[in-house]
Amino acid sequence: MTINATGVYYRQLNEQIRAAFNNGADEVVVENVCGHRYLGTSLRSGRIVINGVPGNDLGAFMDGAEIIVRGNAQDGVGNTMNAGKIVIHGHAGDILGYAQRGGKIFVQDSVGYRAGIHMKAYHDHFPVVVVGGTAQDYLGEYMAGGILAVLNLNSGDQLAAGDYIGTGMHGGVIYLRGTVEAYQLGQEVGLECLEESDWQSLGSILGEYCTEFDRDPAQFCQGDFVKLTPRSTRPYGRLYVY
């Protein structure tokens, strides 16, 4: 089923998408999307293909559906997403995966500031974000759980991420492809090499990422990555204790 978003306000567009799934559609293709917000909010199933630039908070609270964006995305992709998958064939803006609690977000190109801010994991809920290009500052800020990987595939000798990586991080793990300078790290993170178990979990995620974007997983090797983890699960536990 195809919906034309031209001239349709975002609320009506979301209603049309929801109605299509309620009427039994498995997939909805939305054409001419341009800034329509909150697409796919809280959806449990189905697949949305978006042609254009979706607005802020794409897939917010999403709970199992799949969104494919053939274009760039804006800020707040997967805000508080619970389950499902978002694949962006382009770049994305700031706070990608904000408070993401589960599911996967795959981005072909680069992302803005604060990707993975306050991602969190609990029992079998385990969020994953993979960025194909680079990430700007404050990657994984206040991160509490899950996996956040930046592959730096397109930028030549540029570093994978900006400054203040993992500021306030207290859970989860960040994998960066390439080098990272000590000054780029927030005070709360430590830098390590990958262990075999890291490579196993990252490897299967990279396999899925490569399938989405038609890339060769053989281009990745364990030695190209570094791992960032929090030094403490409670970095500010004594901040206000005098």
């Binding site: 800034g35 254009g52 800020d75 770049h91 700031d94 500031y113 700007q136 500052d137």
Partner: protein
């Protein structure tokens, strides 16, 4: 938006709508043709309208450069009045100081959603020769800035909201697309357009408080708040700039005027003064760059803007977009052929330019700069004359 809660300038009450604190984000958009090509305001209206969710109907506005080629050597004063009495008082001040080459109401189009509008007039003026002689130690720009400051501080119901040459600001209380229709913005052609949709969070929505803010050739649209407003305001008072508009954004316009026009700093250095690198970053710089950054931070501490913001600034030869240092407000930029686009959201650019040559996300504290190509200003004037 961030100002003392005392209610602002005495008497400046043009349809202030008092509201509690709302959570929201403003929208900003700017388009510049670096080759000086003139284009209708219809384009920027569509761009800002795309971000309607970021505004709440309490402010919208535009600044346009290149719109008055027939008056290109005259200051175009756009003034709003609460009453005929305010108009008389203000016109006396203008007449005492200026030669008025033309005066008329600002053309508007009646629109039901635009309510309680003030009287809107424009005057094309130059400073009187005797005033230039009397204030021989000041430039014509300085004298004009003083006249604007005098009206805005002394006349309770009169407010000069635009004072540059061959440019004009159009703004008021309403959604930006409605304000654009009201001021017939699509009937003007300019080489730079900047636009704003307001969602006031800390102060009231009133006609003068809508963006852009302007002084002389500078105009500013702003999303966010300037937490350093108090420091900036006191710093600017040392140089004769008085903040009267109940909103933090005006300090940005005055700082640009101070650093670029009066202190003649290069644009990049002025932006560095307003959003300087952190000390740790300065320590990692090459020696010469480090010395510059240290000096700027030391000398221009009072011009440092703190808090979350993204702004677009227009002036006669260019457009600048820049963010606070840790990028707490959104900004996307794109280039397509000779045009530079800056907006709060990417869709506001693709709405009017579906396939830009390049699109990128701004970096905190790093200005995005558009400049008129050499001679492009003359060609912009010639396009109209021809």
């Amino acid at each position: 938006m961030n100002t003392p809660s005392c209610g602002g300038p005495p008497g400046k009450s043009m349809n202030r709508r008092d509201r509690g604190k709302d959570i929201g984000g403003c929208a900003i958009s700017g388009i510049m043709a670096e080759n000086g090509e003139l284009f209708s305001g219809e384009l920027v209206m569509r761009s800002i309208a795309n971000m309607r969710e970021r505004a709440n109907g309490l402010g919208g506005g535009y600044a346009a450069y290149g719109i008055y080629p027939q008056h290109k050597d005259h200051y175009a004063l756009h003034v709003m009045y609460e009453s005929g009495q305010d108009q008389q008082t203000t016109e006396q001040i203008i007449q005492q100081n200026c030669l008025i080459h033309e005066a008329e109401p600002i053309p508007t189009h009646p629109l039901h959603v635009i309510k309680q509008r003030p009287l809107l007039h424009r005057y094309f003026v130059t400073v009187k020769p005797e005033q230039l002689e009397r204030y021989y130690d000041l430039s014509e720009d300085d004298i004009m800035a003083n006249i604007v400051m005098t009206i805005n501080t002394d006349v309770s119901g009169g407010f000069v909201f635009s004072s540059g040459k061959n440019m004009g600001i159009f703004k008021g209380v309403g959604y930006p697309e409605d304000i654009g229709q009201f001021f017939r913005v699509d009937e003007y052609d300019a080489y730079i357009w900047i636009a704003h949709g307001r969602y006031p969070t800390n102060t009231t929505g009133w006609w003068g408080g809508a963006h852009p803010f302007g002084l002389l050739e500078w105009s500013v649209v702003h999303n966010g708040e300037i937490s350093s407003y108090g420091i900036n305001r006191r710093y600017l008072a040392n140089f004769g700039y008085y903040c009267t508009l109940q909103t933090d954004t005006e300090v940005i316009a005055y700082i640009f005027d101070l650093l670029l026009r009066k202190h003649d700093l290069p644009l990049e250095v002025a932006c560095m003064a307003m959003a300087p690198p952190f000390w740790a970053e300065i320590e990692r710089m090459a020696p010469e760059q480090r010395e510059l950054a240290r000096t700027i931070r030391t000398v221009y501490g009072g011009a440092l803007l703190n808090g979350p913001f993204s702004v677009v600034v227009g002036h006669s030869t260019g457009m600048i977009g820049f963010n606070d240092r840790i990028k707490l407000r959104p900004m996307v930029a794109a280039r397509h052929e000779d045009r530079l686009y800056i907006a709060s959201e990417e869709a506001a650019i693709t709405e009017i330019c579906p396939k830009p040559d390049v699109t990128w996300h701004a970096q905190g504290g790093v200005p995005i700069v558009g400049k008129l190509k050499n001679g492009a200003e003359d060609s912009a004037v010639a396009q109209v004359a021809g």
